[in-house]
């Protein structure tokens, strides 16, 4: 695969030209400090170097809220017919950070575990990802390095690294290579040298760090079921579900059927985002709720990210360290702080 050293202005022009050919989602400012992945239009700003993580992660483009899974129609003799709805339109996600890239990698695994999810995988197969390295933490909430996301590259088709004001553009897949312009990008021979140069200027240590490795955290969590930490954050929790909905590795959904008012024998089935911090999430038929208290729901979230799915679906940690949940929580509940407190209790520093 090719690697190129390209001037920033030329990269911007190339991204703009890609956006003229197919929908290209790029993080754009919303309000005072938010960002949103939305289709790049003529005149929108293209800036790789500085943005806070978007309100919701780019991976959510692959499972849009309220997506229609299939349409149904009751035909002759009451026999129902189904028509699956798959979205195979090509698109590009550009400006994806390594933490979000790892989030998409984990979602790829989730949607291939057991039975394939055709809705996700069809969108994913038609999505090209242009990722971009981080040389400085986006803000104080970041903890991507400690959970192994900072140097993540898998899943990207093209990978951009800022080197002394230019971009090292690496094609990682044939799809990525096909997106490069025919001419104009100067081939780069010394990729290792340029990567080392970027590594040299990267902030160290990068973001916040746990006192223990993700593997050790997964090992101590089973013994902390009754920790007072859960009750402490449960008392502050507003159960608004924001932490789930902004998480790159939360994928729970709710299913609803709807029929056409003009013809009640036909309709569709949709799925909507759901989250385990929402009070009725674990309520079952008959009205029993397995996790009625916010503290139990907080514990469940932390254990999903750092214990339950580790080994089964993720190496190290199912949390990618993007910091969105802590950043979006209005009462300041931060999963990094929760885990750090648990670690301090289980293995106090000498």
């Amino acid at each position: 695969m090719g690697a190129f050293l390209v001037r920033k202005a030329a990269v911007t022009e190339w991204i703009r030209s890609l956006a003229r050919e197919q929908p290209l989602f790029f993080p754009q400012p919303v309000g005072r400090s938010g960002f949103r992945f939305q289709p790049l239009r003529e005149g929108s700003e293209v800036r790789f170097d500085h943005y806070r993580p978007s309100v919701v992660p780019p991976g959510r483009q692959l499972t849009p809220a309220g997506e229609v899974l299939f349409r149904y129609r009751t035909g002759e003799g009451g026999v129902p017919g189904f028509e699956s709805v798959l979205d195979a339109s090509p698109r590009i996600l550009a400006g994806v950070r390594p933490c979000d890239l790892r989030g998409i990698y984990l979602m790829d695994r989730v949607n291939r575990e057991g039975r394939d999810d055709p809705h996700y995988l069809t969108r994913r197969a038609n999505t090209a990802i242009i990722a971009c390295d981080c040389l400085a933490p986006c803000d104080d909430f970041c903890f991507c390095e400690t959970v192994g996301s900072l140097r993540w590259r898998e899943g990207a088709d093209l990978f951009l690294t800022s080197v002394d004001g230019d971009f090292l553009v690496e094609a990682l897949t044939p799809l990525g290579e096909s997106l490069l312009p025919g001419t104009g990008f100067a081939r780069c021979e010394d990729v290792a040298g340029l990567r080392a140069r970027a590594e040299e200027v990267r902030v160290r240590p990068f973001g916040r760090h746990f006192a223990l490795s993700p593997e050790r955290i997964a090992a101590i969590l089973p013994g902390l079921w009754r920790s007072p930490v859960w009750e402490n954050c449960g008392q502050r929790c507003l159960s608004c579900g924001s932490c789930n909905l902004v998480c790159p590795t939360c994928y729970c959904f709710d299913i609803q059927d709807d029929f056409d008012i003009s013809d009640p024998s036909s309709g569709d089935r949709r799925r909507n985002w759901d989250g385990c911090l929402l009070p009725n999430f674990a309520e079952v038929a008959g009205g029993h709720n397995f996790r009625p208290q916010p503290s139990a729901r907080q514990r469940h979230r932390v254990k999903r990210k750092f214990e339950y799915l580790v080994g089964r679906l993720a190496e190290g940690s199912f949390c990618v360290g993007c910091g969105r949940c802590g950043r979006q929580c209005t009462v300041g509940i931060d999963i990094f702080d929760i885990v750090s407190e648990l670690v301090a209790v289980a293995e106090p520093p000498p």
Binding site: R32, V55, R236, L238, S239, G241, I261, P264, W273, G275
Partner: protein, 260 residues
């Protein structure tokens, strides 16, 4: 036979009924499925019995309560439309004032002195208390918001027509904000009631640059204590906090307590 549906209005702006009439195209499809037998905004007929009665507006006088009870006795299901019928809305704040104080604030001292001597008028005013519909009769479903959301109305009617359980959102407005990818109101340096308020509104107010004032009502599981502390931390004093809670929720637990 098509289900018979009726609409009734009490004290309110009738904006909820207009929101429903605004569905236009879908409304015509809806008419294929139901018979509308009473609807002051749209027709002049009446009927002895109905399957669903939609109630808009809050209940103020005892004669209003009587009329509501009578409607309830004629209908299989009763559904409230919007914040007036559901919560008492902003007008319920007058319950915290004596009728005389309230009247003086609106019409002045001179007018108060005149009507207080009027035996035809004053007893009516003096015994007015703003109530939500559920304070007077049992309610089967509540359509929330100021005004209601047309899609939620259609969904409820469709569900009732075919006999399925309607999906009623019981999550906070924050869920809607995340689905719309809105910047959080708190990140703009303002405060919001979205975390403790029923969603289902697609967070329209926040999407248009405003905040959530809680028109859809307080979530049953709301952590009011933590929310109140959050507003204090953001610099609101107790009376400002109560004002915010009382705007739409004065008839509910969050607004009912005495001003400090």
């Amino acid at each position: 036979m098509k289900p018979k549906v009726a609409f009734f209005d009490f004290a309110g702006c009738e904006g909820c009924q207009l929101t429903i009439l605004d569905c236009e195209d879908l409304f015509l499809d809806l008419l294929e499925r139901v018979d509308i037998v009473e609807f002051r905004e749209a027709l002049s007929e009446t009927a002895p019995r109905f399957d669903v009665a939609f109630i808009e507006g809050s209940i103020h006088r005892e004669e209003d309560a009587e009329r509501l009870r009578e409607i309830r006795s004629r209908s299989t299901l009763l559904v409230t439309l919007g914040a007036c019928a559901g919560l008492g809305n902003v007008q319920a704040r007058s319950n915290f004032l004596s009728p005389a104080t309230n009247f003086r604030r609106v019409y002045g001292e001179e007018e108060l002195n005149r009507v207080q001597a009027d035996p035809e008028f004053w007893p009516l005013w003096a015994h007015t208390r703003v109530r939500s519909v559920k304070e007077v009769v049992p309610v089967d479903y509540e359509l929330r918001g100021c005004p209601v959301v047309a899609e939620e109305f259609l969904h409820l009617v469709k569900s009732l027509v075919v006999g399925t359980v309607p999906h009623v959102p019981t999550v906070a407005v924050c869920v809607e904000c995340k689905m719309q990818e809105n910047e959080c109101v708190f990140d703009r340096g303002e405060t919001c009631l979205g975390q403790i308020t029923y969603g289902g509104c697609k967070a329209v107010c926040i999407g248009h640059g405003y905040r959530c004032d809680g028109c859809r009502g307080l979530l049953p599981q709301a952590n009011l204590e933590a929310h109140r502390q959050l507003l204090r931390d953001k610099g609101l004093d107790e009376s400002r906090i109560l004002e915010r809670y009382r705007l739409f929720g004065s008839a509910e637990a969050w607004g009912r307590e005495r001003r400090p």
